[in-house]
Amino acid sequence: MCLGIPMQVTAVHGFIAHCEAKGVTRDVSLFLMQEEPVAPGDFIMVHVGYAIQKMTPQEARSAWELYDEMLGLGKEAPQGA
């Protein structure tokens, strides 16, 4: 649960940000980002549907590379095999 997923903000309406990552879109709460304004184009670290911090595009990319690797590994070692 603590891993978090980086997403890019496409639009902001109040405390809700429409976000996108790898073709998947989600509404994310910005309630925990009140001290740090979030705008379209920003990258955020999302945890159980809530943004917990802003991040740079490079950081988002390296986090996504990590997930791709893990997902690839997951396929090689199916759970419960």
Partner: protein
């Protein structure tokens, strides 16, 4: 592995370290990265990476899970919980319902959710029925739960809150006679929320090297290099190897909503017992949303084996980093992700589950501290 990660590995190999150094991590996400990237096999043999208390689902009190099952079975309500919680087994007689998943199969209205916001939506869509949100998690999950409360929730949303703080479990280990580690890698997203300062006690009170890490192999290896160098040179400081997200003071808004909605109190960890200052409880302003205020009769701490791990399961020692997952006698035998005996094999953040997903298939003889071949 990236070129940057290889560079860090080379640096670690060049350190003139002869003795065994055990480095604990306290985050299922860290353990997943370490295992999936095969870092243990790539490190010098005298450096051990020990998974510690990093799985909130694993330490969620057995009596809380039991209570959630009984609520869902006996009351006309909707119970929502993070998906990981549904398969966690409780200690009941063979014929009895032993997980939320089984209760759901028996007809109880139990719905897995991925975000606290979904709990509020389900409550709004079902105004005539109570919706109980069974919220287990560390600070990273409990802060969003606090946000949900602070933002305002429908009246029919009640909480069964099993939120836990991570650092008190480490403090308890360090206060014990045999902590079992010489350095700490602190959890990146817990520190993002609460601030890195929470971990300063490891350095100041216990004289151990510590570094906050993110989740990529590069960040984890940088943190490992930092604590090993500190160990070698006799210097001690709290390093921050995840400065992109971990800022001094943490996430101010998150800490504010936590303080606004919850108090911190002693709390039970499954298989471990009570740890001071380790649990979140709803404060006086939000206590009316505590399920215990409305339906107190489903709590039964007096059950035989209440609070313990399932019989034969060594999760308690796995959680505290006393043994590696594959030192449990039934790892990979009676206990696999398909037939999990203990919560450490159920949760995505459980060390047993992660090691199994990482391809570690062999149980090893108990008591041996051996880095498994990867």
């Amino acid at each position: 592995m990236s070129a940057d990660a290889k560079t860090w590995l080379e640096r670690i190999h060049r350190l003139p370290l002869r003795e065994r150094v055990r480095v604990m991590n306290v985050c299922g996400g860290h353990e997943r990265s370490i295992t999936m990237a095969g870092l243990r096999g790539a490190l010098p043999a005298n450096i051990e990476l020990i998974p510690g208390p990093g799985c909130p689902v694993c330490v969620c009190p057995e009596e809380d899970v039991y209570e959630a099952i009984q609520l869902a079975l006996n009351e006309d309500l909707i119970l929502v919980a993070f998906g990981d919680m549904l398969r966690v087994p409780v200690n009941v007689k063979k014929a009895d319902i032993r997980s939320l998943e089984q209760a759901k199969a028996a007809g109880a209205d139990i719905r897995p959710i991925a975000s606290p916001a979904e709990a509020a939506r389900i409550a709004r869509d079902n105004p005539e029925r109570p919706v109980v949100f069974f919220a287990a998690g560390f600070e990273t999950t409990t802060a969003p739960v606090a946000a949900l409360l602070a933002e305002g929730t429908p009246d029919n949303l009640l909480l069964l809150l099993s939120g836990r703080l991570t650092w008190p479990a480490v403090a308890m280990l360090l206060d014990s006679e045999q902590p079992g580690f010489e350095a700490l890698i602190a959890p990146g997203h817990v520190a993002t929320i609460m601030g890195p300062e929470e971990w300063q006690f490891v350095v100041d009170d216990h004289g151990l090297p510590a570094a906050v890490a993110g989740f990529t192999p590069v960040s984890l290896l940088a943190a490992l290099y930092s604590v090993l160098r500190q160990h070698l040179e006799g210097r001690r400081f709290l390093d921050n190897c995840y400065p992109e997200l971990v800022r001094p003071g943490g996430n101010v808004a998150a800490r504010r909503v936590l303080a606004q909605t919850m108090d911190v109190a002693s709390a039970t960890w499954r298989g471990v017992g009570s740890i001071p200052d380790s649990g979140f409880v709803l404060n006086a302003d939000f206590r009316h949303q505590d399920v215990h205020q409305h339906l107190p009769r489903y709590r039964d701490d007096a059950r035989k084996r209440a609070g313990e791990m399932p019989p034969g399961c060594d999760c308690a020692r796995v959680v505290l980093g006393k043994i590696y997952p594959n030192e449990c006698k039934i790892y990979g035998k009676a206990c696999t992700p398909r037939t999990p005996i203990g919560p450490c094999m159920v949760s995505d953040e459980g060390a047993c589950r992660i090691w199994w997903a990482g391809g570690i298939r062999e149980a090893i003889s108990p008591g041996r501290y051996t880095v498994p071949a990867e």
